[in-house]
Symmetry: C2
Subunit: 245 residues, 2 copies
């Protein structure tokens, strides 16, 4: 069905409208730049074996009881039973190399589970932008970028990242008739020449600054730090790097 | 509570996330540029007395049986029991002057009913942009722009119109810390110097073109054709022009 001509790319700005975009034949790229998807792509780049996205906290506690390393936060706060929280910097540690991490966040891990209902779910970030888009082009399928947002609200940093994906895909084999994809592209075109200053107006930047957690903003908006392609397999419930197996 | 300093302005891109924005103290401006809010503001400018927004079709039929003039469409098609559909041009007719119209559409009329739960609901359009913003400034309250969208999906023309409202309000007494308001403003800044060509990429333009209904696009994107201020009063269930009483 999706084998001829250009493939569509669409952008969904909030998980609560994802049912209006859902297509079982599509690849869904989840973006939650501040900070879940940046943390996941960092972890895999630094040698973490795989990551289990855990939507609810009861299940995250259960993983802890089973002996897993658990990263878990809500609203920017590390949970008391967790080993650490949501900063990508935590995931760079050498002791995590080769390990499996169970990971639960306010917005991102729910979106990953939703995306797992489609043909394939990929976790995207600026850190591995080109590698992810190269992978998407190879798959030759419709792509939907799902922005995790902030508690269902539109997030500027996720929309701008979606626009960066749309730009790369439209250059090579994709087309769009999706208003949110066109809007994301326009926002990315405005932001890209000076991305870090642009994103300082984002509400999530201000939330993180209040908690002293905004040291990761510039890092999370630095493209192409690795060639990780973070694919979620709902049959194993794990996210792995399929590009460096 | 909202009496000191600058008032906030926010933008909600879809009715299904409106619960995350809802504030009983706010004024909500509903925008559905193609075509409900443009049609309503046109009707009031051409002398229609008031408009009853009707979300469901059973109720629209009931109004017809009671002898009301009924405008009703779904997905661009005029319904068989209705007097006419959703084009602003229908609402310019002289025989409608002084009359009440019951009006039901795919997206806009539902959003108006939702907005009626807040402190006040206003129907906005490019056609009465400055008059609407002048009214909002006078009210000295938080403003939320609610984009009707297309079946809950993001609509480019509604977002760009929201950005035009944000620009005018930020110039005079308002501030924002809302990502979707900032994004709408950036889209408007990109679009405004050449609005009609910009909006031709909108998906709704293409839907209307398929039905031969895209003759209204340029009209609906022409700012300041009237000084109507279209306020919905949920106690009477009617939209009237409060600026030219």
């Amino acid at each position: 069905m999706e084998n001829q001509g250009k493939k569509p790319v669409e952008v969904c700005f909030s998980p609560v409208v994802f049912d209006r975009f859902f297509d079982p034949e599509a690849i869904v790229v989840v973006t939650d730049i501040l900070r879940a998807s940046s943390a996941i792509c960092t972890a895999l780049a630094y040698g973490v074996k795989d990551i289990i996205p855990v939507p609810d906290l009861e299940k995250a506690k259960w993983y802890k009881e089973q002996g897993y390393i658990v990263a878990a936060e809500r609203d920017g706060h590390v949970l008391d039973f967790a080993d650490f929280g949501n900063s990508p910097y935590y995931f760079m540690e050498e002791w995590l190399s080769g390990k499996t991490i169970a990971y639960s966040t306010t917005n991102g891990t729910n979106a990953i589970q939703m995306a797992g209902e489609a043909h394939q779910a990929v976790v995207g970030s600026f850190l591995n932008l080109t590698a992810t888009c190269d992978y998407l082009k190879e798959q030759n399928r419709k792509v939907i970028v799902l922005c995790a947002g902030w508690k269902t609200r539109f997030s500027l940093e996720d929309a701008v990242h979606a626009g960066a994906i749309v730009e790369l895909l439209l250059k090579d084999g994709f087309e769009t008739n999706c208003d949110s994809a066109n809007a994301a592209l326009d926002l990315w075109e405005k932001a890209k020449s000076d991305l870090y200053p642009y994103i300082l107006k984002a509400a999530q930047k201000k939330r993180l600054a209040k908690l002293g957690l905004d040291d990761v903003i510039e890092y999370c908006h630095t493209p192409d730090q690795s060639n990780v392609v973070a694919v979620f397999d709902p049959t194993t419930n794990k996210i792995t790097d399929v590009n460096n197996k």
